[in-house]
């Protein structure tokens, strides 16, 4: 148990030197290295965090964009649907109008055709009837019939009302008697006499032929006309036939 004080002082110096040496070569470098490493790790962590944040932001923005795209798409679809509906209804309306137009056109054509047909039918039937009657009457016409006609005409002159009679009697122009057949002189004098007696004594009477008066006789004087012929009957027949066809014209196919 002896203490060598020289050794003690040497050891104190040695220890202090060792403290300095280790501080210089051990503690400081090692701690600095560790701190720098920690700093680096912290930096990397910060960087990673910032990148993560960035990525999250990016993701959110993309999600928002996606959502807006979706919304836009939905809107567009809705718009398109609306348009389609509109177009459809428009086209339907157009089609309806077109159909109605075509239909009315067709109806008009049909009715025109029908009218034309009926007209044709009427004229034709009238023509036929007239021809038949004309033929029959022409075949039948003989002196006796002509006499009967003249007789009937005289009866008509008897049945004249006073106004007509006076108007015709005062006429300065000659009266004209047209017949569809040739009158013999006896008949002519009978007729002239009847005219003088019944209408006016001063009237001059001329005679003409008028084949269009089927089996008829006609007195024309001062725009007054007295006649008996089959044309009048035929006209009456025509009128009645037209009357018979009228319901057909008014009741169209659409009715």
């Amino acid at each position: 148990m002896e203490i060598d004080w020289i050794t003690v002082s040497a050891q104190v110096v040695n220890f202090l030197i060792l403290v300095w040496l280790l501080k210089r070569f051990l503690y400081q470098p090692v701690i600095r290295a560790m701190d720098r490493r920690e700093q680096k790790i912290r930096n990397r962590m910060d960087e990673a965090n910032s990148r993560e944040q960035e990525a999250i932001n990016e993701k959110q923005s993309y999600q928002q964009k996606l959502a807006s795209f979706e919304q836009e798409r939905e809107d567009l679809l809705e718009e398109t649907r609306q348009e389609a509906r509109q177009t459809r209804s428009q086209m339907l309306d157009q089609a309806r109008e077109e159909t109605a137009r075509v239909r009315s056109h067709w109806m008009r054509e049909v009715s025109e055709e029908k009218t034309a047909f009926i007209d044709g039918l009427r004229h034709q039937s009238l023509d036929v009837v007239e021809t038949v009657i004309r033929k029959a009457l022409q075949d039948l016409a003989d002196e006796r019939l002509e006499e009967r006609i003249a007789h009937t005409f005289v009866r008509q002159l008897h049945a004249l009302d006073d106004t007509t009679r006076e108007t015709m009697g005062r006429s300065a122009e000659p009266a004209t008697i047209a017949t569809s057949f040739e009158l013999d002189p006896a008949q002519r004098s009978t007729l002239t006499r009847a005219v003088h007696e019944l209408v006016g004594a001063e009237l001059t009477v001329n005679y003409t032929r008028a084949p269009e008066l089927i089996c008829g006789i006609e007195l024309t004087c001062e725009s007054q006309r007295i006649s008996w012929n089959l044309s009048d009957y035929l006209e009456e027949l025509t009128a009645s036939i037209e009357k018979a066809f009228e319901p057909l014209e008014t009741t169209g196919p659409g009715a």
Binding site: E2, A10, F15, L22, M34
Partner: protein, 237 residues
């Protein structure tokens, strides 16, 4: 039988004797410095570490954590002093397994020198931390009557530091020496292993006690926030 390496004198010049204590101290110093230098001249700051750097980092971090745990203060200012105490004593003791080596810590001169260093370091750190007036006040607390006892306590604990380390290491060496003469071959090896354990424990005790003394001198006003300091022991160097 040689008890103290002080008595082995290699060279003498005037009043200065170059004895085994100093020589082996130099050896330990050279070993520590060279080892540190070899490793720390190529330090990696990235995630890839060499094994030696890893070892040194574990050592330094371990010492720092111990200091922070004991003192409840930032370990930065105390690390070189306390860490060197631990490393020097530990290496000096561990090398005991080498035949022909004599631990400088087995010399009362060395342990006294280290204890004196602690004895001086305590007021130095205390004054640096709190200022001279406040530091000196703690000698007359709780009453001025305690002044002599405080002074005696200061000295006696220093002596205890020196003698404890010296006694342990010296006794280990002596026991092995005695056992070698009584039961050679096997039993001394076991005792040698025990000596390694004892050497490590003594290094730890010496450094921790030094830290406790320093902490008691510096940490009076800093005791209020120990938790906060404990949570961030590595943020300062």
């Amino acid at each position: 039988m040689t008890i103290s390496p002080d008595s082995i004198v290699y060279w003498q010049w005037g009043g200065f004797t170059l004895n085994a204590t100093i020589v082996f101290t130099w050896l330990v110093m050279a070993l520590l410095t060279l080892g540190s230098w070899l490793v720390t001249r190529r330090l990696s700051e990235g995630p890839e570490l060499s094994r030696w750097q890893n070892l040194l980092e574990v050592l330094v971090v371990g010492i720092r954590d111990q200091i922070a745990q004991v003192s409840h203060q930032q370990p930065g200012p105390y690390l070189p002093f306390v860490g060197t105490l631990f490393l020097f004593i530990a290496v000096a003791n561990l090398l005991n397994v080498i035949p022909g080596y004599m631990a400088p810590t087995g010399s009362l001169s060395t342990t006294t020198a280290l204890a004196i260093c602690v004895f001086v370091a305590v007021p130095v750190f205390g004054i640096a931390s709190k200022g001279a007036g406040q530091y000196l006040q703690h000698y007359i607390k709780p009453t001025p009557l305690m002044l002599p006892f405080n002074v005696i306590g200061e000295i006696s604990r220093t002596v205890a530091l020196a003698v404890r380390l010296y006694g342990n290491i010296m006794s280990g060496t002596v026991i092995v020496a005695i056992l070698l003469s009584l039961t050679p071959y096997f039993f001394p090896v076991v005792m040698q292993l025990l000596g390694l354990l004892t050497g490590m424990i003594q290094a730890y005790i010496f450094a921790i006690l030094a830290m406790v003394y320093i902490a008691s001198a510096t940490s009076v006003q800093e005791r209020d926030e120990p938790d906060e300091q404990q949570q961030t022991p590595r943020s300062e160097h």
